[in-house]
């Protein structure tokens, strides 16, 4: 019983972090799918999302003791607005002028943007850790706990992360499969030049992917910021690399791949922490990245379509 509960707890922890990774990974994978570049500033967009939500939550808590779900909702909306504007601006300023150049040039521009945003937040918010209040307390016991055995818990915070992620993913899937813009996103990612030959303003579609990716990152920023309990300007760096790993793991360019990759990575990390030592969790994540690049570079779901001639 002890082992089962312990296992269950690790699984829940892993899926929690994994679903947030998946949210961030979507941004990497969609941008890569459309213009073939890795947006290395994406982790910073996520970090800014976390900062904005913290600022809003703090502000609202100071001015009026408001109803918590409302506070969270306002924080979420503000984070989405700021992060998606950032995503839009980063694309306009740093990527569009160098689009179509050698692949390394946008990559360097992205790394530059990442450093700039990190340092901007350092300056504006200070470089120390800031505590992020846990507004969703309590949880459900899933069993165990008798005679000093391990008790598995599903906290309401974790439940919130699952539900919000599920809503975002469902919304995104519907948007991509049903809506006109979503269909255009897929078309542009399959053949950008042909899309413009059909009169589609590809720049607008590219901007849309940046905005969508940044919004989902902002959601993840609020959720994980609160889940971890503290944030700092480097908060987006490791998470960004993890989400990038998740995107590659699932198959870069594939949206279901990013979702799966995030979950797999989260669970792998959590089991490493739970059964080995938490020091090894990054080793396992990036080890996975190396393995997948060596043995299955297309990722778990990134199968290239068979084209007939």
């Amino acid at each position: 019983m002890h082992d089962v509960m312990y296992f269950l707890q690790q699984l829940i922890n892993g899926l929690t972090v994994g679903s947030a990774y998946a949210l961030i990974a979507i941004g990497y994978t969609m941008v890569y799918g459309i213009i073939g570049m890795i947006n290395f500033a994406h982790g910073e967009i996520y970090m800014i999302g976390a900062y904005v939500s913290l600022i809003v939550i703090t502000g609202l808590a100071v001015t009026s003791p408001a109803w918590i779900p409302l506070v969270l909702l306002v924080a979420l909306i503000c984070a989405i607005i700021v992060s998606s504007s950032m995503g839009w601006a980063v694309e306009r300023i740093a990527y569009r002028p160098v689009r179509g150049q050698h692949r390394l040039i946008p990559l360097i521009s992205a790394i530059g943007m990442s450093i700039f945003l990190q340092n901007y937040v350092h300056l504006a918010q200070g470089s120390r850790n800031i505590g992020f209040p846990l507004l969703i307390e309590g949880g459900i016991s899933l069993g165990g706990g008798e005679d000093g055995t391990f008790q598995a818990n599903l906290s309401y915070m974790q439940l919130t992360i699952f539900i919000v992620t599920l809503i975002c993913m469902t919304g995104l899937s519907l948007f991509i499969s049903r809506s006109k813009t979503g269909r255009a996103c897929r078309a542009v990612s399959q053949d950008l030049k042909m899309s413009s030959l059909l009169g589609i303003d590809t720049n607008r579609i590219i901007t849309a992917t940046f905005v969508i990716g940044a919004s989902l990152a902002a959601v993840a920023g609020l959720l994980l910021g609160m889940y971890y309990g503290s944030i700092d300007p480097l908060f987006g760096f490791i998470a960004g690399l993890k989400a990038f790993t998740a995107a590659v793991l699932g198959g870069i360019g594939s949206i279901p791949g990013a979702m799966l990759g995030g979950l797999v990575l989260g669970v792998a990390e959590s089991f490493t922490s739970g059964y080995l030592s938490s020091e090894y969790k990054d080793v396992v994540s990036f080890g996975l990245l190396i393995l997948i690049l060596l043995f299955r570079p297309t990722g778990l779901l990134g199968k290239p379509e068979v084209e007939k001639i």
């Binding site: 269909r183 399959q190 030959l197 009169g199 589609i200 379509e305």
Partner: protein, 233 residues
């Protein structure tokens, strides 16, 4: 309808077209023939603004479109069936058609789609199939259908018979002649010079970036030089 005046087009520093002039009247089928690397595709793509001409002018319906962005040109009544078909492999037949009519309204898309399905009943049967899993001939039909979704006044076809079986090539050429009957101006590029010239009202022969000959389709078919160079005679 379409006038190209002394067009020069460069890829980087290399000049691919050295002053090409072409004129296409409304309702005509004009064929452009030429060997590999003569610049046929470059010429078509210059009309679409990708790449843009480095000098000379492209006029469509009297309007100068030389330096307009591609998306804007393609919204003004020109549609293209590009070399290699370039259907969206991961999208279904229906989704591909909808992309063709992207900037038109929902009702227009429905109407155009019915029209395309009438023209190609095969596409209707396969409407929910992914384009990448279809045969070459079916993909070519889809590419033509997709171009028709905007109700273009002029359609540009780049090597529509490339890599297809003879029976399907025949079908494709039949469809092209029905396009003219519908009042659509056709600008056709072909390596299959015999078929292309038979169908065409007029033709141009492009050689290494220059127009070598210009005449009616029938005259070009009878021309000795053309026969020797392009018709295997």
């Amino acid at each position: 309808m379409l006038v190209l005046e002394n067009i020069h087009t460069h890829y980087g520093k290399i000049e691919a077209l050295h002053g090409v002039s072409v004129e296409i009247q409304k309702g005509e089928i004009v064929s452009l023939i030429g060997a590999n690397g003569a610049g046929k595709t470059t010429l078509l793509m210059t009309v679409c603004g990708d790449p843009q001409a480095s000098s000379g002018r492209v006029l469509f319906k009297g309007e100068d479109i030389t330096h307009k962005p591609t998306a804007q040109i393609m919204r003004s009544g020109i549609a293209i069936v590009p070399e290699g078909r370039r259907v969206f492999p991961g999208l279904t037949v229906e989704e591909n058609l909808h992309m063709g009519g992207f900037f038109t309204s929902k009702q227009e898309i429905r109407k155009s789609q019915d029209h395309v399905f009438e023209l190609f009943p095969r596409l209707k049967e396969r409407r929910n199939q992914r384009a990448g899993t279809m045969s070459g001939g079916e993909q070519q039909m889809l590419a033509i259908g997709r171009a028709l979704m905007t109700k273009p006044e002029m359609i540009i076809l780049d090597e529509p018979s490339l890599g297809l079986a003879p029976l399907i090539i025949k079908q494709i050429f039949e469809i092209i002649s029905t396009l003219r009957d519908d009042g659509i101006t056709v600008f056709l590029v072909e390596q299959n010079a015999k078929q292309a010239l038979k169908l065409a009202d007029r033709g141009y022969v492009l050689e290494t970036g220059r127009i070598r000959l210009e005449d009616s389709g029938a005259n070009l078919l009878a021309n000795e030089d053309v026969q020797k160079a392009y018709l295997g005679g």
